[in-house]
Symmetry: C2
Subunit: 331 residues, 2 copies
C-alpha cells in the first residue's frame, strides 16, 4: 500500500481545511496510508474526527515542534528550524516511510525542503515547479512557475523535458512545448531566450517555437517553458486579472434588479468558468527534478483542493512518476 506524508500546517487555511481535506481524501480512497505532520495541539483539537483513521492504521500522527511560517526566509529557516513540519515531512520520505509528500505551505519553504532536504535527481541541476492552467484545449503546463530566478539554457531544456514527461504521464499525447517569449520570431527576446531556442530546436521534444502568454490559453502548446521569474510573474498576473474580472463581474451583477436576475440565470455557467479558471481546482504543482514525489499545493486551498492534492500525490506515487522523470537527467 502507498504511504504519503502530508503537512497539516501548510496553507492559509490550515489546519482546519487541511484536516478536513485529509479526511475527505481518506474517505474517497481507502488504499493509502498518510503520515500527517502537525504540532501536538492540532492533533488534540481534531482527535475526534481523526480517531477512526488512527485506529484503522491508515493514519499516523507525526508531531513536530517547530513550524515553517509563510514569512520565514526559506534557506535560513531550513537551517535554524530543525524538527519543523517540513523537516519531519522530508524525513518521512528520506527514511522510506512515505513514497512522496505534499504541503500547501510556503512555496519557498517547500522548494528548500525539496532541493536540500530530498535532493536533486542525478543530472538535473535545477528542479522546477510545474503548474497546470486551463486552456481551450484542456490545459497547459507552465514550467518553471517560480523555483529558479536565474537560469541557463540547459536548465530551460531540462524544464521542457521534465514537463513533457509529466504531461505524457497525465495523458497528453506527444505534448508540444512553446518557449515563453515576447514574440514568435526566432530572433526575439534576450540572450537566454535565443540560446534556449537553439537548444530546444535540436532536442528530442516536440518543440513548436516561441510562444506568447496569450497563445497558451488558446491551446497553441501543451507546455509553456520559461525561467521561474517570468513564470511567477505570468502566474500572478493570470491570477490578478482573473480576480479583477471576477470582482468587476460581481459588481456588474449587483447593479440592478435586472442584472441580478441575469446573474442568477447565468450562475451555473459562470460557476463552471470560475471553477475551471481557479487553480486550486487544478490540483497541486509538482516540484520536478527531485528524488521523490513532492507536491506544492496552492496556499489558498480549501478542503476540496486539499483533498484533490492528496489524492494526486497518491496517484503520482503509485504510478511511479519519478522513474519516468529520472530518465531526463540520465540521458
Amino acid at each position: 500500500m502507498i504511504s504519503i506524508a502530508f503537512d497539516l500546517l501548510g496553507g492559509d487555511k490550515a489546519p482546519e481545511e487541511t484536516v478536513r481535506g485529509l479526511v475527505l481524501a481518506m474517505e474517497t480512497r481507502s488504499d493509502f496510508i498518510t503520515y500527517a505532520v502537525a504540532t501536538k495541539d492540532v492533533f488534540d483539537r481534531y482527535q475526534k474526527i481523526l480517531n477512526p483513521f488512527l485506529s484503522s492504521g491508515r493514519l499516523k500522527e507525526i508531531t513536530c515542534e517547530n513550524v515553517f511560517e509563510m514569512d520565514d526566509e526559506p534557506v535560513k529557516a531550513w537551517k535554524e528550524k530543525k524538527g519543523s513540519n517540513l523537516h519531519k515531512m522530508v524525513d518521512l520520505v528520506n527514511e522510506g516511510f512515505a513514497s512522496g509528500c505534499i504541503s500547501l505551505g510556503s512555496t519557498g519553504g517547500c522548494l528548500v525542503a525539496g532541493t536540500l532536504g530530498i535532493g536533486r535527481l542525478k543530472g538535473i541541476e535545477r528542479p522546477a515547479i510545474g503548474v497546470l492552467l486551463p486552456s481551450k484545449q484542456g490545459g497547459f503546463l507552465l514550467i518553471d512557475a517560480g523555483a529558479n530566478v536565474d537560469v541557463k539554457p540547459k536548465n530551460i531544456l531540462d524544464f521542457a523535458r521534465m514537463g513533457s514527461v509529466y504531461m505524457k504521464f497525465l495523458g497528453f499525447e506527444d505534448p508540444s512545448v512553446g518557449l515563453f517569449n515576447v514574440g514568435e520570431e526566432k530572433s526575439k527576446g534576450d540572450r537566454l531566450r535565443q540560446e534556449s531556442y537553439e537548444l530546444l530546436s535540436r532536442s528530442d521534444i516536440n518543440f513548436v517555437g516561441n510562444m506568447e502568454g496569450k497563445d497558451a490559453f488558446f491551446g497553441k502548446c501543451s507546455i509553456l517553458v520559461c525561467d521561474g521569474f517570468i513564470g511567477n510573474i505570468f502566474l500572478k498576473t493570470t491570477e490578478g486579472v482573473s480576480d479583477y474580472l471576477r470582482y468587476e463581474m460581481r459588481d456588474a451583477i449587483r447593479q440592478s434588479f435586472m442584472t441580478r436576475l441575469g446573474g442568477m440565470l447565468l450562475y451555473p455557467a459562470l460557476a463552471r468558468i470560475v471553477k475551471r479558471a481557479d487553480y486550486s481546482n487544478y490540483g497541486a504543482a509538482p516540484l520536478l527534478g527531485v528524488k521523490k514525489v513532492f507536491l506544492i499545493g496552492h496556499g489558498r486551498s480549501g478542503r476540496i483542493a486539499a483533498k484533490n492534492a492528496i489524492l494526486q500525490t497518491v496517484k503520482l506515487c503509485s504510478e511511479n512518476l519519478i522513474e519516468k522523470v529520472k530518465i531526463v537527467g540520465e540521458s
Copy 2:
C-alpha cells in the same frame, strides 16, 4: 493651431479604420491640423470623404512610397526603407510641421522611428513605453511595456520618473510607484530588481516598494515600473487572460435558453466591463523619453480607438507634455 502627423497605414485594420478614425477625430475637434501619411492609392480611394478637410486646410496629404510592414525587422527596415510611412511621419515632426505624431503600426517600427528618427531627450538613455491599464482605483501605468529588453537600474529609475510626470499630467496626484517584482520583501527578485529597489528608495518619487502584478489591478500603485521584457509579458498575459475569460463567458451564455436570457439581462453591465478592460479604449501608449510627442496605438484599434488616440496626441502636444518630461533627463 496644433499640427500633428498621423500614419494612416499603421495597424491591423488600416487604412479603413484609420481613415474613419481620423474623420471622426476631425469632426470632434476642429482646432488642429493633421498631416496624414499614406501611399497614393489610399488617398485616391478615400478622396471623397477626405475632401472636405483637405479643402478647409485642416488635412494635408503626405504621400510615401515605402511601407513599414508588421514583420519587418525594425532596425534593418529603418535603414533600408527610406521614404516609408514612418520616415515621412518623423520628418514632419523633425522639420517642425507637426508637434507630435501617432501610429497604430508595428511597435518595433515605432520604437526605432522614435529613438533613431526623432531622438532621445538629453539625459534619457532609454525611452520607454507607458501603457494605461484599468484598476479598481481608476487605472495604472505600466512602464516600460516593451521598449527595452535589457536594462540597468538607472533606466528603471528614469522609467519611474517619466511615468510619474505622465500620470501627474493625466491628473493623478502624487502618483505612487511600485517596482514589479515576484514578492513584496525588499530582498526579492534578481540583481536588477534589488539594485533598482535601492535607487528608487533614494529618489524623489513616491516609491511604495515591490509590487506583484495582481496588486496593480487592485489599485495598490498608480505606476508599475519594470523592464520591457517583463512589461511585455505582463501586458500580453493580461490580454490573453481577458480574451480567454471573454471566450469562456460567451460559451457559458450560449449554453441554454436560460443562460441566453441571463446574458441578455446582464449585457449592458458586461459590455461596460469589456469596454473598461479593453485597452483599445484606453488610448494609445506614449513613447516617453524622445524629443517629441510620439504615441503608439494598439494594432487592433478600430475607428473609435483611432479617434481617441489622435485626440490624445493633440492634447499631449497642446499641453506640452515634453517640457515636463524633459526635466527628468535634466535633473
